[in-house]
Each structure stands twice: as C-alpha cells, then as structure tokens.
C-alpha cells in the first residue's frame, strides 16, 4: 500500500479535528473534536508502525495507550463540563469568560506628571 494514503488520511482528520476544536462553542462538541484529533494521531501511529516495520510494536502500543488516555480524558472532561453546566446552566465555551481581562479606558489625569509624582511618593 502506498504510504501516503493512511498518512494523508490522518493529516486531514487532524485538520478537521483542529477546525472543530476552534469552531465549536459547545464544550462537548469540542471534546468530540479532540477525539478526532486523537484518532488522527493514533491512525498515524498505526500507519507508521506498519510502514517502518516496527518490531517492538511501539506504534500500536502507543495507540493503545492513547486510546486509554482518551477514555480517561473524556471522562474527566465530561465531569468538568457537567460541573460547569451545573453551576452556570450552560456548556457554551463562549460564555465562559471569567478569566477575561476587564477593559477600562486609561484616563488622562492618570498620565499627568503630578499624578506620577504622587504615585512615586506613595
């Protein structure tokens, strides 16, 4: 088999997952897109395991590990999303702006020399 087929499949799947992670607002949808990302990686691992005639099963075993970790990640991620949903009644990532920097305009007197001196004196 031509090596490009599985590898390109993995790459495209990765790009799709990337798009999903960035474009989805619902936290669970983002988690799904992350699953796509992980699967793209595992697909590549399996492909390389075959292409490079991997004697120690590294690719496949890493895939095994990644699937396991993905399961744990999904469980934890969903637990977090449910917690967020329980507290804020929404799983919309766009609404989770608690860490946003509040923007207030810089006032003119804040920059005057007198004020600077006062700040220094303080």
């Amino acid at each position: 088999m031509h090596a490009v087929y599985p590898l390109v499949l993995g790459a495209l799947l990765f790009a799709i997952g990337l798009y999903g992670v960035l474009a989805r607002r619902n936290a669970i949808a983002v988690l799904m897109a992350i699953e796509l990302l992980l699967n793209a990686v595992t697909l590549n691992l399996v492909s390389f395991s075959a292409i490079l005639r991997d004697r120690y099963g590294m690719g496949q075993i890493f895939t095994l590990f990644i699937i396991t970790i993905a399961a744990a990640e999904t469980g934890l991620g969903l637990a977090i999303v449910l917690l967020v949903y329980r507290q804020r009644a929404t799983a919309d990532l766009g609404e989770q702006r608690a860490l946003a920097e509040p923007v207030e305009p810089v006032t003119a007197d804040e920059l005057s020399p007198r004020n600077v001196e006062a700040e220094v004196a303080r």
Binding site: A100, L111, V116
Partner: protein, 626 residues
Amino acid sequence: MNLLALIASLLPALGAAVTAAGGRDLRHVKFWSTAPVGAALLLTLLVAIDHGSGGASVHTYSIGTAGAFHVEIGTRVTGLSAIIAVLVAGVAICVQVFSTTYLGGEPRYPSYAALISLFTAAMLTVVYSADLVVLLVGWEIMGACSYFLIGHYWEKPEARPASIKAFLMTKAGDVPFLFGIIALGVQAHSFQINAVLAATGQDRLHHPAWIAFLLLCGVLGKSAQFPLHSWLPDAMAGPTPISALIHAATMVAAGIYVVALLYPVFALCQAVLIVMAIIAAITMTGAALCAFAQTDIKKILAYSTVSQLAYMLGGLAVGGRSQAIYLLLVHGAFKALLFLAAGVVIHRVGSNELSAMGGLRYRMPVAYTTMTIGLLALAGIPPFSGFFGKEAVLGAAYNATGEFAAPGRIVLIFGLITAGLTAAYSLRLWLGVFHGPFPDAPHEHEATVEAPQPELIPLILLAVPAALLGIVVLFGSGFSNYLGGWYGEAGAAGADLWPGGLTTLLSLLFVLGFGGLVFLAWRRDEGADPARALLGPVRPALVNGFYFDRLIDAAVVRPTRAAARLVGFLDANVIDAYVRGSGTGARGLGTVLRRLQTGSVQFYLTCLFLGVVIMAAVYAYVGTVS
C-alpha cells in the same frame, strides 16, 4: 623621631575616636579632648628639639602597590614641619582647654571636642606626611571637619550656609589641587614628597607653571585668598575657639604650609610668582580695608586673618620662604590669642557687635592685657612678634632680586599700605572694645567679670609667644637654618630675619600715620566708630566685603541656578516626556492587548494554532527549499 611624629599625629585622632565613641556622655570628654592633644604637643616639641637643623628625615612603611604606584605611608620630618607641628599642637591644646569651659556645658560638646581633635590630627597628618596622597587625605579631612565645626550651631540660620559655603569654596580650590597633585605624582613617578622635590630639582617636571597654578588654586581656597576668600569671614558663625584654631594654626595655615613645602615647584616659574604677588596684594589691602569697616569684632579678626595670610603669600611670592613661615608662626600665636580673647569678650558681652562694647578694660583686665598684646603684635608695633614677622616679609620684598624682583615691588608697596591699615583697624578694635563709654551702661562700675580660669590660662600662655617671638630674630639666620632650604635639606644659606632699615622706617611711618588718623577720629567722639568718619561713602561696600558675595552670586550662583532650572525643565518636560511617553505607550499597548484577553479559550487556541501552522509551514518551506 619619625615614630614620635607618627604617634603625635595619631594621638589626637585617638582622642577624637574615644570622645566620639562616648556619645553624649560628658564625663570623660574633657580629659579625652585635652590629654591626647597635650601629649601630642609634647611629642611635637620633642620632635622639634630633636630635629635640630637636620634636614629631612623620612621614614615610610610600604603597604603595597596600587596601580602603577608603590604606596608608602610614613612621616617626613623637616624643620618646617616640626615647627609648624608645634604651632598646630600648641594652638590646638589652647583651644581645647579654652573650650572646656567655653563650650563645656553644651550638649553637643563631645562631638565638638572630637572634631577639634580630629581636625588637629588631620593638620598634623598634613604637616608630617611623607607623601602627597596622605597629605591630601589630611587636607580633605580638615575640609570636612571645618564644615562640621563651622556648622556647629546648625540651629543658627547663618551657620548652615556658612558651613556649606566654606566647604564648597575650599572644595572649588581642592579640585584643581587634586589634579595638581596627580600631575606632580605622575611626572615624578612617585607621590613621595622627597621624590617630587628631587624631580623638581632635576627639572623633570613638564609644565611646572600649570602644576603650580593648580596647586595654587587649592592654596587659595584653603588659605582664603582672593577670589576664594569670602568663606572665612562667614565662617565666624561657628564657635569662637574654632575660629582661633582655623585662623591661627590649622586650615588656613595648611595652604601656606603647602606652598612652603613645595616651594621649588612654585619658584620654577616667574608668572606664578607674579600671580601670587598680585593675589596677595589684592587680598591683603582689600581684606585690611574690609576689616577696618567691619563692626563685628570676629569679622574684623577674620578679615585680618585674610590680610595677614596674604602677607605670608606675598612673602612666599618674593622668595621669602623663611620670612613667610616666621610670619605664619607669630601670626598663629597672636591670632589665636586674639580670637580666644575676643571669644571671652563676646561671651561676657553677649554680642559680636563693636557697638555693643566699650570701656571693658577695667572689667576684664586679663582679656584686656592679653588682647592688647595681641593687637600690638598684629599692628606691628615693636618689639612685639608681629612687628618682626611683618618686617621680615617687607624686607624680603625689598631685597628681592632676579625673578623675585617684580613680585617684590608689588608686595612691598601694598605691604606698606596694608601695614598702615592693619594698625588702623587694630587700634579701632582696641579702642572700640576696651575704651570709650559702655554703650548702655547698667554694669559700668561693677566688679570684674572675668572668664573662668581654663579660658584665661590659654590667653596668658598664648600672650607669651605673641609678645616674645620676636626674639627669634636675634639668632640671625638661625631660624632659616632650622627651617632648611627649599628642598628641605639642612644647612642651606639662611635668610636673615632682622628688620631692614628703610622698610622699617617706612612701615612705621605708615603705622603711625594711619593709626594717628584713627586715633584723632576717635578722639573727636569716643562713642562713635572712627571708621564711619574716615571711610565715608565707601564704608558700606567695605562692610559687605566689596560686595564680593554678590559678584559671586551673579557670576557663579545665578548662572548655575539658571542652568539647574534649565536642566530641571529639560528633565521634567523633555526627558520625562519620553519616560511618560513610554509609560503611556505601554499602557495604551496594554489596553489594546487587554482587548485580546477575551477570556475565550478558543480564541487563544486559534491564535496559538495559527502561529504553530505558520511556523510549521515556514519551516517546511525552508526545509524544502534548502
């Protein structure tokens, strides 16, 4: 001998340390302020007697190499240094003893006494030092001590600026002085005084005139010569004993001493000598005139000191090294006496003003007697010591030949005039303080109000040399021989200190003439100030020291202030504009960047991955191309 000299310089320092360490504890201050200085006096006397006319005795301790120079610290005892050291220690012990009662009750007496001791130690260091660097250290410690001592009464409004002025003006001279010393050391390849003098003798100095000028600046500052003289009258804001110490023996004497010490350097160039002579002439005449006009008796004495120092400088300018040192010596004696006596008077009267005094001769017999002796010496009345000192300088000026001839004329003419002026202001002071009516006389017929003994004893002790130091001239060239030659070597052909006939006659004529004028003016109205009548319209100018301070204010202070304002303006409006601009810019940028901080994780992630993709693409592209 050198070891004794070293101990003599260190003892007052030890006393100062112990006194200062005691803090405000007054119990042992009197002992620790007087005993080490007294011991130092004994040691300096021993050194002076032991030295004889033995030339220069140098003993140094090597303490390693600093840069290109091998640093050796030690003492150098010559006739000059031995005799000046005796003067320093003698005046210092008198001042310390005097101070025990004069200032003994004050809470800040310990620090005062410690500073006096330190001052003495610094001056002894200058005198005994074997190399110029250590000399400079002592020189600067004196500057610092004078700053603190003049500002001793820092609660008085005139004392603070006076101390700052003294510090700044002497410092203005010290900077060129430092360069001069460095130039000397570099050209002689050593800072050892002996080596420097040897280099001078072998004509190894380049541009000696410049070096001499640089050194002269320091001397002018320390010895209060025109144009750096005005700090000395202002320094009267300090306690009176300090004035005695500064004026008689330490600070101002240091300048003259350094010129005498490095005399070969100065004598190498006639231009320097002429400048010295001109400065001396201006200073001596102007200061004498100012002294005549002053009403504050301490200021009279201060201007008198400036005038007399100019005499010494003039003596040095005409080649009369021995004569100048002799005058320094006798001046030290009688000026210390005068200041201490004036201190006694001021303390009793409670005012510095001449107008507040009068008719004190019966009430303060000891002060009267001793001050009379001092004033006679100052005025140059034979046979008191001042007469011989003055005549020695005038004689040297009269007899000057060769490159000294031209300075000699200048010094002679102005010296004679100044002699008369000196007699005039001395007489005015004497009459004003001790004769005539007491201004407002509630105590006119009271018994004596003498000062306590510790104040009187130094007066009497100082009166002896003030009256009798003229005896030195009986030894002919013995004093000069003791001082040694220019290079500090022994057995050089010494100058004769015996007064010359013509100059004596002329100076006595001047003295009698000016003195008579003053006396006649005083006789007309015993309560009035003779200066007022004699000087007329120029008096205010003289009282204010020829408005010299205003000149300095206009020439130096205002331009400096203007420059400072300009710099301040530039700092506040140009440099700070950049600083504030950067602050504003950072804030503005921060505001913009804060808008990026939306809290949306996906927005961050998008930016992150965008960057990653771009980097990966660029990397892949570069990897493909290469």
